[in-house]
């Protein structure tokens, strides 16, 4: 990988109780690029994704060894503030999970938590974030309506806007389109393409065609190991590893 890295992991191992879920994973995630993680269910791709903003800390009996760096800083260092880390590394989940509040409040929530109180400033952040998430035109007339009244695709873009509102550097997406129809999926995919101008995106997906369409780099994981990682064109046209070849051509998984 020639692009400069924003996240690097070195020999990361993770155990859930006795289960060795990540095994010596070393990966470089290039800045302002989309990196996709693919692999069969249970291969550790979501676990790896959740390492990047320490979401695994919330699970009991998890042990992590190895090093994960964001901007050359070890995210497990005692000096790392997890709230600040999660502000820098936002996350969008499989199922849209808007707060049961208005559209406006969903987006303004994060900036408020981080101390922004000025109404004009909040209005600007909400509009910018909704525009960046390609949903502004659909909701600008009803910002005070409940977010739960939006369609699934709109809710997911609202969740992306909510992530953008705290100005992250990296956006983690865990199967962001799996609950959406093809049209809503296409909108999210177009959005991902635009987001990489300003952010680094890491996406976990079961859908290999989606990984091929949206990502610049792809990592293939199998049984907790990162088998191969490289430019998406290379991985899908001529992977180096036979395991990758067999997985992406549907011979197992």
């Amino acid at each position: 990988m020639s692009d400069a890295a924003i996240i690097t992991t070195n020999n990361v191992n993770l155990w859930y109780h006795e289960k060795h879920a990540l095994q010596s994973v070393s990966i470089r995630v290039p800045r302002n690029r989309v990196t996709a993680l693919i692999g069969p269910s249970g291969c550790g791709k979501s676990t790896l994704l959740r390492c990047f903003n320490r979401l695994n800390d919330l699970i009991d009996h998890v042990k992590i060894t190895g090093e994960i760096k964001l901007d050359d800083e070890n995210i497990h260092a005692p000096s790392t503030d997890v709230v600040t880390l999660r502000k820098k590394v936002g996350m969008v989940f499989q199922k849209p999970n808007p707060f049961p509040k208005s559209i406006y409040e969903n987006v303004a929530y994060g900036p408020r938590v981080h101390g922004i109180r000025d109404k004009t400033e909040l209005d600007r952040i909400v509009e910018d974030s909704l525009r960046h998430a390609a949903i502004w035109d659909e909701v600008k007339e009803r910002l005070n309506d409940s977010a739960l009244g939006l369609s699934g695709g709109q809710q997911q873009r609202l969740c992306i806007a909510r992530t953008l509102a705290v100005e992250p550097e990296v956006i983690l997406m865990d199967e962001p389109c799996s609950a959406l129809d093809p049209i809503a999926t296409a909108k999210i995919e177009n959005l991902i393409e635009r987001l990489k101008e300003d952010y680094t995106v890491i996406i976990v997906t079961h859908n290999m065609q989606q990984a091929a369409r949206v990502s610049d780099y792809t990592g293939f994981m199998y049984l907790g190991k990162l088998i191969e990682c490289g430019k998406t064109g290379q991985i899908f046209e001529h992977p180096k590893e036979e395991l990758t070849e067999n997985y992406i051509t549907g011979r197992f998984g």
């Binding site: 065609q209 899908f236 070849e245 051509t249 011979r251």
Partner: protein, 216 residues
Amino acid sequence: MAEKFHTELKNLKTDTLEMAHLGRSMLRTAVDALIRQDTELAASVVAQKEEIHQMEVRIEEHCYRLIALNQPMAKDMRTIACTLKVITASLRLGRYGKSIAGIVNDLSTKPHLANMMSIPHMADLVLDMVDDAIKAYETDNLRLIDDFSSRDDTIDALRHSIFREGITYMMEDPKNISRCTHYIMVARYLERCADHACKIAENVQYMETGERVEIH
């Protein structure tokens, strides 16, 4: 679904091999008809033109359908890409066979000049290359095609030699011009057939390894 797709891919390869063998057989038969001055045999080659054309259309459509419905990747994608090139090359082999068959009539009234120079030998070498290219596509065996560059050089040299020899006979006696022009054309067709064998070989290499090579 993947199993069904891979069965279809196998069927696609089987159909493609059938077409490649037809193209190869049209070329071989046309050369035999020319050597033996057998106009009936030549007519049988011309009659196969429509059959090979229909095969190409059918296999091409099958390739597009497999791509549209399965979005193949890695070797599966490369196999389909290679197949599209193999059927084009096979059609060309058949068409050159038909072109050679088309001149058998003109060359059947008088005995051949100088045993057709090196044309029979050149045809054997070209058909060996075609056979090896088709076999490599069938069996994924790249060793069959690893010397194609030097074999193609030999074919180019033979074409040049036939050209010079033909010119010499034409200068000796203008009555030879018509026949020698045909011989020179046949040598040119055979040289193009070797190039198509090389194209198949290049694509088999891509299918197997993902690497692009150029065989000169």
